[in-house]
């Protein structure tokens, strides 16, 4: 839908996953790190990758390692014409079920074949290891047998692989929700827009596009402008701890502020210029906006409630007497 002045928003979601391998997958990944492909014998079958259980019965199975490959036979395949950002190649390639020589069942992996005309069910492929290996399935891929060279002899003597690290990164791109467009356009103009419930008359800031208590959808006709001054209804001092993506190093205040004319506080408001000792529930504050043209709404997306620091330079005490804190009890969050 057209949104004058606001391009689609982009969100990147990242989690750094670390997983223990256990003894069976650990041995498999250690083998890869060393430059060999390991299967595991369970009964009469050799499974690659090896399993911690008998797939027929679910009974636990210790690793009975069997070196398989380095060549194998394709049992099914697809030609990936548009690789995703998560795929092992940027150029088209095949995903294939490959039965490594010596194994009983197929192993899903990538074949770098150049073109689909070089792929066929029953074709022979051979493993190609990267020179630098971490002990992961991304340390190798397969190529048509005629493209393969004899793999280098395995490197012995390294520590066993017991952990895997997999940073996860997903990108989302979407238009701002319509009510969000109006709210953010307002911020760029120096006004705070909320929505008044047609059922209860309560004013929510920012609007959600609906009244979540009355289950009523709200549109532009329910928009109202509220004051850029209000009362601290709750706050916390945040002492930064280290985590992936953390940029803060010094303690700071995060506050909820009930803006005059509204019935729900704005939340996650950064306070950097008022000392903790002077900060309190009931304190009256007014917004000091950044100059027009310097306001940045990029920290507001369709999801978060924070981002006020992009448009408001700081919050200053108004000098008015404190508000009655008992009236703020309903607005602690």
């Amino acid at each position: 839908m057209p949104q004058p002045g606001l391009p689609p928003m982009r969100t990147v979601l990242e989690y750094p996953y670390t997983r223990t391998t256990g003894p069976v997958i650990g041995a498999f990944l250690t083998g890869i790190r060393d430059g060999r492909l390991l299967g595991g014998r369970i009964g009469a079958q050799v499974r690659c990758p090896p399993l911690e259980y008998d797939p027929g019965t679910g009974a636990p199975a210790d690793l009975d390692p069997v070196e398989v490959g380095p060549c194998g036979t394709v049992s099914s395949w697809t030609w990936v014409r548009e690789p995703t950002a998560s795929h092992p190649f940027r150029h088209p390639f095949a995903f294939a079920l490959i039965v490594p020589d010596g194994a009983s069942t197929g192993f899903l992996h990538a074949v770098d074949a150049g073109g689909p005309e070089r792929m066929s069910t029953g074709m022979r492929v051979t493993i190609r290891f990267k020179e630098q290996r971490a002990g992961a399935v991304t340390d190798f891929w397969f190529v048509p047998e005629e493209d393969g060279a004899e793999p280098a002899p395995p490197v012995e003597g390294g520590e066993p692989v017991t952990l895997t690290e997999q940073p996860l990164s997903l990108t989302y791109t979407e238009p701002y929700h319509p009510h969000r467009v109006r709210f953010l356009t307002g911020l760029l103009e120096g006004v705070v827009t909320g929505q008044r419930s047609p059922v209860t008359g309560k004013v929510y800031v920012p609007g959600r596009g609906y009244d979540h208590l009355e289950r009523t959808l709200m549109t532009e006709e329910h928009d109202v402008v509220v004051a850029d001054r209000g009362t601290v209804s709750s706050f916390t001092e945040i002492t930064p701890v280290r985590y992936h993506g953390q940029k803060e190093t010094e303690p700071y205040i995060r506050a909820s502020i009930l803006l005059d004319g509204s019935d729900s506080p704005i939340t996650g408001v950064d306070i950097r210029t008022i000392p903790l000792a002077e900060f309190r529930v009931g304190l009256r504050l007014r917004a000091v906006w950044k100059p027009e043209g310097e306001r940045d709404i990029s920290a507001f997306d369709n999801r978060s409630t924070g981002g006020w620091e992009g448009v408001i330079d700081r919050w200053e005490p108004t000098g008015e007497p404190d508000a009655d804190t008992r009236a703020l009890e309903e607005h602690a969050f």
């Binding site: 391998t21 697809t78 014409r81 998560s86 990538a110 997999q166 997903l170 596009g209 208590l213």
Partner: protein
Amino acid sequence: MSHDFRPVAVVATALTPAYASFAGPEAALVMTCVNELLETTGLRREEVEFTIAGSCDYLGGTPFSFVMNLEGVGAWPPVYESHVEMDGAWALFEAWLRLQCGDVDTALVVGSGRASAGRQREVFALQTDPYTMTPLGTDPVSLAGIQARALLDSGRATEADFAAAAARALPGASVEELLKADYWCDPLRAHDVAAPADGAAALILAAGDRVRELPGTPVWITGMDHRIESHHLGLRDLTSSPSAARAARGAGVHEGPVDVAELMVVHSPEEVVLRAALGLDEAVPVNPSGGPLAGNPVMATGLARVVEVARRIAAGDARRGLAHASSGPCLQQNLVAVLEGEH
């Protein structure tokens, strides 16, 4: 075995359109359905004794979106609720189990998703084995391509069969024309893959005296089961679906004629596999709604199959129907529900 269960009926259904990109939050999709259901049944929200939703935070990239979605149900008074990080069809299963306990007679079931913001192939690669598959970005479309190839190689299907399944979902399309399209994930073409959409499906279940007290035509769930196979593709026969077949047996599919079936065919070759596994011959109409290839509101697609079957039975167009949902690559997990009208 299905006969030993407490009778549970679908008494109202709601379905949003499958939007290419819905202009609003997921909770608004949920709210639209919930309001429609309450209006249809005359129930006040607090009379709904149990609420359960199926959705996926990774889908729209919103941590705790399943909590935000509850705003669509109404944030007050407090909701007795549960959630599955799965298609709403599995929420239906949990609600059905919950009603078996006997102390609760009404349940609201929702499935919802906003797929348009993310890159679905990357999102659902996270559903695969975290050591041996996810690092390679093993996405559902590529894996469906491998399943399609296995079907062709086995002689159980032709590319024309895939195109025929796709053509039924595309008004005016012919198999001949579709087969001229370029491959996308060979042997799949773009029209063989359901485009992810935004949307929601919901229904109200009732049991005991509640069924007669509520308006409308009850549609009884006479059996439901779900089964799963290995996450390692190499351990599976991709040309068949033992889990779907077993779920069908568990749900009692073969204890009577099937007048209509709605199958969660997200990749056209899956229809071939499912028809065989579920024992549906050519006489059984499959996906008269168009099916997921015509509208795929991710995380609601499976529950929407139940809604479509229930509506046909309630309208008198069918007496006994089968609804199927799947989860995981290449039909890894399958749920089957049998719905029947009044006898």
